[in-house]
Symmetry: C2
Subunit: 553 residues, 2 copies
């Protein structure tokens, strides 16, 4: 027997209409490349989005066609977020930090028909353009000449001064957006988000136990709009009528802090690297920026060290909330929040709890598996996390490499190695490709990195497994010291020895000025493994202090 | 082009599994008929629900069959909420305040196969039973004999001591639950909720701008589980792992206040009548109950007077948040919250704002219509509210009377007369059947009642339109004074004359001990109109102070 409720599809126009009808006077704020600030009410932004949709249709963009963007976070990019899915096309956001040949591969694979390019990214586009075939190139300019063959964004909109676009519902199963994984192994893989997935992810993001965005918020997505739809925030924020503040290309700590302070930002979101830099800037100039409006910053994309969470709260009164997710998960999978039962544990244990990946958000289900099958939720058994939910990928878009990420019963294999506590709390111990296996036992690089970054003289740290003649692999730490700090390996070894089994302690350390990062701000561990590959090649076969195979198991 | 995300249906088992997996140790608290308190962890409640599902299946309940309940709010009723939809049957909650012949009509119309009855409601069931045919009657007993022909609930569960029920997903389009409207006009009409509607309504209810339920909450649904699924709270609360506190049959103010105090309730929900009684009890014994844990109470089902919202906040520190909804809307349609722009208005205007029905929640769209077409959002034009959304009814279940509640384009006509402000804020001025039309102009009974209840000596008030020889109808007020109060009509007329156009002021007043109420606690205005029908029959044809047709329009 079928229910008798209205068949209203869950599609992005539903989100846009709410902002248009209820919050036409709330603002979208953008920092332009010249650092000036632009402001526009949602009413105008959405009217312009409607004109963009009609103009793209006039250019020949049909339902299901891919429309790419190569752009920073700003109002026009948001207009594309509203217009492209609402007209039935697919918004394909390109990661501008990728190599031009990777971009060309992705554009070709997705068969993008139209691309919108920031003027400041035109030099990058000029490297990509000869390698691809797109029908129309639209330049989002802030003055200056329109390059030959390109269409000026504002001219396109003026040519379509028509407010007849209605933002009618779309079939919720159809594709709304796509994003390629950064592809540190194999070819980049495309994730094709349905309208339904994005709308449900938006509803979940409103929940008080997840991102909890409300009308009162002034939201700064530092996370780029080319990185999993900026974690959904452009849609979530519009749906509840919160103010959006977009930083444009200015992502240095001082620029971000200035924006947070002057725009009275209440909530921000970004990867730990950004927040480490911001924390350093705050520590260096206490009281210089007014963050009194900030209620929370959401950190994801990699595990934030506990010391950073503590530092923000204790020294600057800013709550850091960790979210864990993936491109394949739209992206939010879990959020770390204290539960009622944590009220009674000591403060340092609360921070320890908050540094975990946390609890699956409503709508996402989890389990972990090792070679011997599904793992108990005991907080110690390590295995690969598998997830299920209406905003989790079912299959990649036309994959070219063999795909092993889906189980027979349709769960997605995340590639993250985790423990799951009895209460469902996830702790990420590693990416599966970064796992360190020493003497048959797993060592968690994430745990070691978190502890290292808790040392007063360490700014950032990465731990990788390097080939070792006796133990197969041994941990090796690469450390960026804080400015002026002089700490050396013995002190850090002692620091770790207080916290972990002795055979977890890295055999050696390197000190560097900066860690190599991927296009989305994650540490490029594959490069570190390459660089230091032979470090233990000549090691004494009995070198490690405690044979892990004896100490562990 | 279709998206490539997992096809996970939105069905009630998703909600149940989350409580089972993440919050097995959080509690469901129930007050029994003998006033003792029962406590059970979600783990046990859900295991018992699984056994109930298997037992019902063994009794022959098939997919789509209706399983009725005649019960107060308590743990076993919650078990039915989890079990019945999860096994593919339809949970039909019966309003125990209806007349036995109405209950018999509803049970027959729904073709209920099985009914679960509270032992304390057995006398009511004995009046209904001869009028209906159900296959199995299950008694939820707290000791005592099982009546002949009935099955004891606990015996049924023991007979099925089998934990193999898996709470697998269901097709989201199928029916999960049904509820009949109270039917003050015509036959009761059945609303058939789909799994999808209930799950989406649950996600919306988690939003920080709507009910904002979180794991930390201790939730007391005073609203009965037979009243639109207790506004969804049994599901919403379980989904986030909040504690549920069920009052059983003890709904008097003192019992509820004691429960709130001893269980450290953070959030409650119910109709204004209940909260008026609670406010009176609090005022009579300040400091007697400890409500320091309370963060909010959600009031809906009728408009709470502004004076009540102010009284709770100013005198007892409790935030009253108004929600507007309908059985046909699962039920939440709008919530009254202050927006950022209201921070700067004076406090008395903030209360005035909060006394409105508020803004449509995410997922619900609104418009209003008069005889001349769709109304502008100008805050003054009055018309019937129409709504659209994935948890709004599309059609009634096998209606027997002609149905006029659906527009040609599929919106639901609510029967509520409203104004919509330019910012989308809804003000309910009347139910369409209660509208007062004096001299061709509408007078808002809701506005007059709110003002009357703001008078220090008035406990409760209802205003109805009575036939009048000159003005077609004139407003008439029926007032319940506070204990010991002596206020008379002239003082109340003067009070209203300060606040409204003079032709809005009721021509006459009656003072009574209590207002007649419907089964869901709403004032029965039809009965008031019957009782006082001839009050203005002999009125001077020029009686009203200011002819409304001249004063208005």
């Amino acid at each position: 027997m079928l229910g008798l409720m209205q068949e209203v599809p869950l599609s992005i126009p539903m989100l846009v209409r709410r902002a248009r009808d209820l919050f036409p006077d709330k603002h979208v704020v953008s920092r332009r490349p010249d650092r000036s600030i632009g402001r526009a009410p949602y009413g105008d932004v959405i009217a312009r989005s409607g004109r963009l949709a009609l103009a793209l249709r006039a250019l020949g963009v049909a339902e299901g066609d891919r429309v790419a963007t190569l752009a920073w976070n700003h109002q026009r990019h948001l207009e594309a977020y509203f217009a492209v899915p609402s007209m039935g096309a697919v918004l394909h956001t390109l990661n501008l930090r990728l190599h031009p040949t990777d971009l060309a591969y992705i554009i070709g694979h997705a068969e993008d028909q139209v691309i919108l390019v920031d003027q400041v990214l035109w030099p990058l586009w000029e490297k990509v353009a000869p390698l691809v075939r797109v029908k129309h190139v639209i330049i989002m300019s802030d003055g200056g000449e329109t390059p030959p063959g390109a269409i000026d964004y504002e001219a396109l909109l003026s040519g379509s001064a028509d407010d007849t676009f209605q933002f009618d519902d779309r079939d919720e199963r159809t594709a709304a957006a796509m994003c390629y994984t950064s592809g540190t192994t194999g070819r980049p893989k495309g994730v094709l988000y349905s309208h339904r997935a994005i709308v449900l992810h938006t509803f979940m993001s409103l929940a008080s136990d997840s991102a909890a965005i409300v009308e009162r918020d002034v939201m700064l997505p530092v996370v780029p709009m080319f990185h999993v739809n900026a974690w959904g925030f452009p849609y979530t924020t519009a749906f509840v009528g919160a103010t959006q503040v977009h930083p444009g290309p200015h992502l240095d700590p001082a620029s971000l802090l200035e924006l947070m302070s002057t725009e009275r930002v209440t909530m921000a979101a970004g990867v730990p690297t950004i927040w480490l830099g911001i924390l350093q800037a705050l520590d260096a100039a206490p009281g210089h920026w007014d963050l009194s409006a900030m209620r929370m910053t959401l950190v994801g994309g990699a595990a934030p060290p506990e010391s950073m969470i503590r530092g923000f709260k204790q020294r600057h009164g800013v709550v850091v909330q960790q979210g864990w997710g993936m491109t394949e998960m739209s992206p939010i999978g879990s959020v770390s929040r204290l539960q009622r039962k944590h009220d009674d544990i000591p403060e340092h244990e609360q921070y320890h709890q908050l540094a975990k990946a946390g609890y699956p958000v409503p709508g996402v289900e989890i389990r972990a598996r090792s070679e011997s099958g599904l793992l108990p939720w005991d907080g110690t058994s390590m295995g690969e996390l598998e997830v299920r939910g209406p905003w989790v990928v079912r299959e990649y878009y036309r994959p070219e490499d063999p795909i092993t990420q889906f189980t027979d019963d349709g769960w997605f294999r995340t590639g993250d190695i985790v423990t799951i506590a009895p209460d469902g709390c996830i702790t990420i111990t590693d990416r599966s490709k970064d796992v360190i296996k020493s003497g048959g036992e797993w060592v968690s690089s994430v745990a070691l990195e978190g502890a290292l970054m808790g040392h007063a003289e360490v700014f950032e740290a990465a731990v990788v497994g390097l080939p070792h003649p006796r133990w197969s692999e041994r941990p090796f730490a690469v450390v960026v010291r804080k400015p002026g700090a002089l700490v050396e390996a013995p002190a850090l070894k002692a620091w770790l020895a207080e916290r972990f089994a002795s055979w977890w302690v890295p055999d050696d350390f390197a000190f560097v000025d900066a860690l190599p990062k991927t296009g989305t701000g994650k540490v490029q561990k594959s490069q570190l493994r390459d660089t230091y590959r032979d470090r233990f090649a000549g090691a004494d076969e009995a070198g490690a202090a405690h044979p892990p195979a004896e100490a562990g198991a």
